[in-house]
């Protein structure tokens, strides 16, 4: 399910529109991940407070969104571009890849919340595919 050139353009266009609110979306998305899927807090046991809306959660959500934006810039070669991030996730963080899908869903929910007019079914489809490709690239080095 690779991205067509039209879908790549759609993703780049939407992320560009989103850029003024990207920190908010990243922070909200991670907050929702830990609220809706509490088992994901298991990766943040080293934080004093891993509850939705807490400072460490919001800060880390912004970091992750920065990574997603970086990946948009590497959309033509996600596997190559995300090699070192994949190694980080595979050997150090060892996040179960099922969680990439859960976070992607929360990101889509936040995009729809904050950009209801722009997040059309066509944009939704392209971004959903992109996030799935991103997750695959992140899991590349797992085994």
């Amino acid at each position: 399910m690779s991205l067509s050139s039209k879908q790549k353009a759609t993703v780049k266009d939407f992320f560009s529109k989103m850029s003024t609110r990207s920190d908010d979306i990243g922070a909200e998305a991670l907050s929702r991940l830990v609220a809706v899927y509490p088992q994901t807090k298991s990766y943040f046991s080293h934080w004093k407070d891993a509850s939705p809306g807490s400072a460490p959660v919001r800060k880390h959500g912004i970091t992750i969104m920065g990574g997603v934006y970086d990946a948009v810039g590497k959309i033509d070669d996600l596997k190559g571009g995300l090699l070192s991030l994949s190694e980080l996730h595979a050997f150090m963080l060892r996040v179960d890849p099922v969680n990439f899908k859960l976070l992607a869903h929360c990101m889509l929910v936040c995009m729809s919340m904050i950009f209801p007019e722009e997040f059309t079914p066509q944009v939704h489809a392209a971004v959903d595919k992109f996030l799935a490709q991103l997750a695959l690239a992140l899991a590349e080095k797992y085994r």
């Binding site: 809706v36 936040c110 729809s112 919340m113 079914p121």
Partner: protein, 147 residues
């Protein structure tokens, strides 16, 4: 049986109170057919689904979106007996309609995104959690009679 806290019941009711079934039902089903095109396999008799515009303008899709969302709302009045409430519908989807139950999850994901678009930040993380728990319970009940 699914256990609900008082807060979760309130959250689920609050979300349903913001949903216009005649608007959100069609939007959710249209989105599902566009974002996950393989779901179109169940709607061969619905006429033209060949383009996104055709799907958005298709009256049978709109009508069925209302039917599906009305069905999803049924659990709201039976939150302590969701499994038994959907037993007959589960048999129908398995034996007669032959729908892969994973499609229920896909439709519910699209519905959540439509609801998020309508509610904006009023859909708090806690409300989203309760809402998705509700949809999970219904999806599970709908898949229960498959064998």
């Amino acid at each position: 049986m699914v256990e609900w806290t008082a807060a979760e019941r309130r959250h689920v009711e609050a979300v349903w109170s913001k949903i216009d079934i005649d608007v959100c039902g069609p939007l959710a089903l249209q989105r599902c057919l566009i974002v996950y095109p393989w779901t179109q396999r169940y709607f061969g008799s619905f006429g033209d689904l060949s383009t996104d515009a055709a799907i958005m303008g298709n009256p049978k899709v709109a009508k069925h979106g209302v039917v599906a969302l009305t069905g999803l709302r049924t659990a709201l009045d039976h939150m302590d007996e969701i499994k038994s409430t959907y037993a007959a519908l589960s048999v129908l989807h398995s034996e007669k309609l032959h729908v892969d139950p994973d499609n229920f999850r896909l439709l519910c994901e699209c519905l959540t995104i439509v609801v998020a678009g309508k509610m904006g930040k009023k859909l708090s993380p806690e409300m989203q959690a309760a809402w998705q728990k509700y949809l999970c319970a219904v999806v599970s009940a709908l898949g229960r009679q498959y064998h």
